[in-house]
């Protein structure tokens, strides 16, 4: 058994500041370094993204397992599982494979998070009442409560308390609020030594860094880096491979700080209004020591931590531990309602710092539900590349992009927010249903409104909003670009002059060296389709649910201008299924590029153009091969046009008719498995376009469609993780886009598939260009291309 003697007397060794000034524990700059600097540093750190990739993969598996286990255990131990697979019979002489019906259980993640979100909403909507009730109850219990409007007020309160009591050492357990206010910096400046006692926070403090993750502060570091740091701080060699030994260093070193500290500072996971109690959860046991050993304890907490009662706290426990660390419960969950012995003082400082302002803004108030689990970071593709020091400010992950403008100002959020690829993965794991992706777009719109669009997007957006001019420009570009392309791709690194590679500027290599660009078409898709529309409806090739219906085809600008053949084959599919196809002539762009760029005004113009065009159409369905366009029409238009109720109503009406291609095939056409079977010798894998999966919930649907072609799907790892296109992200942060794409293409290659299929033209362009530039051994197809080809083979074989 180890004794409790420190390995060396760390504090004494650092007392002579001159010798050790370069690594005096905890001294930190007031603010994070400028964004560009943080971004470059992260990209240059080759271990960072590797550490985070390992972390994200293992977290995902264990998080999913712990929620699944909770659901199947059930209260009584009876298995609560799936009902037997139902078979749905539809009109006609064919049977479709029906989706398995999940039994609704109050132990289901979706049910639990919906319930907690509702509870938190009631508190947010009546926050002052709950706050009053909580404060009164806490005061009755003997807690000294102070309300701080600003970070400075919180810091001063703690500082004055230390001075008044002659306290020189403060032990802290993890509190993001004290990171938000920069408490350590303020205490140090006055000669008071704050010591972080959570292992990760302590390591961050010793290396003068901030936590890069709300739950796992140093997840960006490797054990070798930790060992090097500990060796430096203790003056002894610490085994770079032995994590157990590294943890022992912390236990031994920190014990003495616990015993001599005059004050403990902790955070709070919840404030329970009915009793005035503070809940905090942890694994290490340091928070219990921080709150028990020193005679003065200060809790610092944001006012959004309020919960009505113990029932809600129990629900939060179930969701929080599973979402944060994939545990059913953490080692210690503590409920503190007041001082337990004479002489003990408990202070509680409640922080506003922009939270009340958030509450007053309908588009942002949902973010106050956050319980700081960091699941949004754990599934975030760009976070995996750059880490939390870049993807965020003090708060990291998706929630950090949303709350930073309120806690640290719009400037602090301006650049990090543009790293979001809008894949919506965060939304699917958030335990309180925060619409994070949409809120990030709202932050983006605020940034653009205040600072304007980045210079290179201005002319593009200007042109985009003018359909006639855009049409002319696109056709001209098609003619001009023709000589630049070969095999349908533009890849400047292949250009040769006198047999030698053309020297390319670095910027061009960064932008396109890793992904070839498509050659714009001189003749758009609409021109190919138009002559075929006069034909009367054909008899369907196979019996199906859409035969005889009228389909209006929304081509999408990318398909129309870059992949005209894809557009033509989509129309061909509808005709072969026996549909009458119409093509709204004035259709242009749904406005997604504008919305993605934060150009809200431009997006509104485009949305209105699109609504006007499509509501004139007489058709049973409006179908697009571009899932992203369907999603903006179905999910974003109403929010975008919310301030103009008449337009919002028109958007709602339109949403009733719009469908993406996969949904149309699954819900309307309904082909049974093998309906279009024909010889096909490729191995097909499917990439769930992130928004199709995360927003529309399409996972089984595309696979059913491919099975109806008589083709099996070979699954790849992480099929629902973004490909890195992310609209404007691939232009703003090509390095991030490239690395996310490599993760995706690596997974595809590992699956052994020879054909990669997906349902969004943007992803096709990105992955196809990447596969070409990197010489990957598979082809990339849009789902409409696969269906059209198979239809032709089916007809030929018949």
């Amino acid at each position: 058994m180890s004794n409790n003697q420190p390995l060396i007397n760390r504090v004494a060794s650092l007392a002579g500041k001159s010798a050790a000034a370069d690594h005096s524990p905890g001294h930190m700059e007031d603010k994070p370094a400028p964004f560009k600097q943080r971004y470059r540093k992260a990209l240059a750190d080759s271990r960072l993204s590797r550490n985070l990739l390992n972390f994200q993969r293992s977290w995902r598996v264990s998080r999913d397992e712990t929620f699944a286990e909770f659901k199947t255990l059930g209260d009584s131990g009876e298995k609560v599982g799936r009902l037997p697979k139902a078979t749905e019979t539809v009109a006609g002489n064919f049977v479709s494979e029906a989706a398995p019906v999940e039994e609704i259980s109050d132990r289901d993640f979706q049910e639990m998070r919906h319930k907690l979100a509702g509870i938190k909403d009631r508190v947010i909507d009546n926050q002052e009442d709950y706050l009053d009730h909580f404060i009164q109850a806490a005061r009755r219990n003997g807690i000294i409560v102070y309300e701080a409007d600003t970070p400075a007020e919180l810091n001063n309160y703690v500082l004055e308390l230390c001075k008044r009591k002659g306290i020189t050492t403060v032990v802290k357990s993890k509190t993001m609020v004290s990171e938000e206010t920069g408490l350590n910096h303020v205490l140090e400046a006055e000669g008071i030594q704050p010591v972080e006692t959570d292992l990760g926070e302590w390591i961050a403090q010793l290396s003068h860094e901030r936590p890069s993750h709300m739950v796992l502060p140093i997840i960006h570091k490797s054990r070798q880096q930790v060992a090097a740091l500990f060796s430096k701080v203790t003056g002894r060699t610490v085994d770079p491979e032995n994590v157990t030994e590294q943890v022992r260093v912390a236990r031994t070193e920190l014990r003495q700080d616990f015993l001599k500290a005059g004050m403990g500072v902790s955070g709070a996971n919840a404030l329970i209004a009915e009793s005035g109690a503070v809940m905090f959860i942890e694994n290490e046991g340091n928070a219990r020591l921080v709150t028990t050993l020193p005679s003065v304890h200060v809790v610092v907490a944001g006012i959004e931590k309020l919960l009505p009662d113990y029932d809600a706290a129990m629900l939060q426990l179930r969701l929080l531990a599973r979402s944060a660390t994939a545990q059913p419960i953490t080692s210690y969950s503590t409920f503190l309602s007041g001082p337990t012995e004479p002489g003990k003082e408990i202070h509680l400082v409640l922080l506003d710092n922009g939270r009340r302002k958030m509450r007053e803004m309908p588009e942002f108030k949902d973010a106050l539900r956050c319980i700081r689990c960091a699941a949004c970071a754990d599934v975030c593709p760009p976070y995996q590349i750059v880490g939390g020091h870049v993807f965020g400010y003090i708060y990291s992950g998706a929630i950090g992009l949303v709350n930073t403008p309120f806690h640290h100002g719009l400037d602090a959020a301006a650049q990090p927010q543009s790293l979001c690829v809008q894949c919506n993965a965060c939304v699917t794991v958030c335990p309180v249903e925060i619409p994070l992706a949409r809120q990030i777009l709202d932050v983006r719109a605020m940034v653009v409104e205040e600072k304007g669009l980045v210079w290179y997007k201005k002319p593009v957006m200007w042109l985009w909003q003018r359909p006639l001019l855009f049409n002319l420009a696109a056709r001209t570009a098609g003619y001009l670009a023709k000589p630049l392309g070969s095999n349908g791709f533009i890849q400047p690194s292949r250009y040769k002059i006198f047999g030698r590679q053309l020297p390319l500027p670095k910027i061009l290599k960064t932008m396109v060296g890793w992904r070839s660009l498509p050659v714009p078409a001189a003749v758009p898709g609409r021109d190919l389709i138009k002559p075929k529309l006069t034909a009367t409806a054909q008899p369907p090739v196979v019996p199906n649910g859409a035969a005889g219906k009228t389909v209006a085809y929304f081509i999408q600008c990318l398909t129309d201008r870059l992949y005209p053949e894809m557009a033509a084959s989509t129309a061909e599919i509808f005709q072969k299924l026996g549909c009458k196809v119409v093509m709204p002539e004035s259709q242009h762009c749904c406005g997604l590029p504008n919305l993605d760029s934060g150009d809200k005004a431009g997006a509104m113009v485009m949305a209105k153009q699109t609504i006007e065009t499509l509501e004139k159409v007489e058709a049973d369905y409006i179908v697009t091969g571009a899932a992203s366009c369907a999603i903006i029409m179905l999910h974003d238009y109403q929010h975008l046009l919310a301030e103009q109720p008449e337009w919002a109503a028109r958007a709602e009406k339109l949403a009733g008719k719009v469908m993406d291609f996969i949904t149309f095939m699954d819900k309307v056409v309904k082909l049974p498995a093998g309906a279009l079977a024909a010889p096909y010798n490729e191995t097909v894998t499917y990439h769930n376009f992130c928004q199709s999966g995360n927003v529309m919930g399409l996972k089984d649907e595309p696979r059913r469609l491919i099975r109806s072609l008589g083709i099996d799907v070979t699954e790849m790892e992480e099929s629902n993780v973004c490909c890195g296109f992310g609209g404007s992200t691939s232009a703003d942060f090509p390095e991030v886009s490239q690395r996310i794409l490599e993760r995706k293409l690596g997974n595809v290659e590992a699956s052994g598939a020879s054909v990669l299929v997906t349902d969004n033209p943007g992803c096709v362009m990105h992955m196809r260009g990447g596969a070409d530039a990197q010489g990957r051994p598979f082809k990339v197809k849009h789902i409409t291309e696969l269906v059209a080809e198979q239809l032709r083979r089916y007809e030929a074989a018949r």
Binding site: L216, R288, T334, F335
Partner: protein, 182 residues
């Protein structure tokens, strides 16, 4: 039902990294603890006052049990013993509700912690536990209540699970047949 809760509790506690020792009564509990500590090389055992004053329990130890007089004594002990208030089957947790600071320290600072728990005092899940917690805090004046689940742990370095950080490195739950008198 009782058996079901007991088994579920055991299964969840073990999964959380605790060791469950099942005994028939307080005397057996003391003997088991003495044996485990003996096997680990012996040393001072600290205990909370209710156990020190319980002759059936304290007489079973070769060395007298030590009171938790201050934090250094507890931290320097070989092990600490303290009775839990109730258990939670869903999570395998033992709930501590002692107001006395030194009593609490036994469960916080001992390198090895023995948590005594009566098998009849196991609540099925967190919903029921929440109700009992509310009663403890709002009616019985318990100011500091912790759900203790397994030993102290961290996964901060590369998400490698490491047992024994600031709190106990080992947690033994001594599960005694029957119910507490309270």
């Amino acid at each position: 039902m009782q058996d079901f809760l007991r088994n579920r509790f055991k299964e969840r506690a073990v999964k959380a990294g605790a060791t469950v020792l099942e005994v028939s009564d307080l005397t057996q509990a003391a003997r088991t603890i003495a044996r485990v500590i003996g096997e680990k090389g012996g040393g001072m055992i600290v205990a909370t006052p209710d156990l020190l004053n319980e002759p059936i329990f304290s007489k079973e130890f070769d060395q007298p049990l030590h009171p938790a007089t201050d934090e250094l004594t507890v931290a320097g002990s070989a092990a600490g013993v303290s009775p839990g208030s109730f258990g939670i089957a869903e999570t395998g947790s033992v709930v501590y509700a002692a107001n006395d600071r030194l009593d609490r320290l036994v469960a916080m600072l001992s390198p090895i912690h023995f948590a005594l728990l009566y098998a009849g005092d196991i609540a099925p899940d967190l919903e029921v536990a929440g109700g009992k917690l509310k009663d403890l805090q709002m009616n019985q004046g318990k100011r500091y209540v912790s759900f203790v689940t397994g030993p102290s742990r961290t996964a901060d370095i590369e998400r490698v699970l490491t047992i024994g950080v600031q709190g106990p490195k080992e947690l033994f739950i001594v599960l005694i047949d029957g119910e507490s008198e309270k």
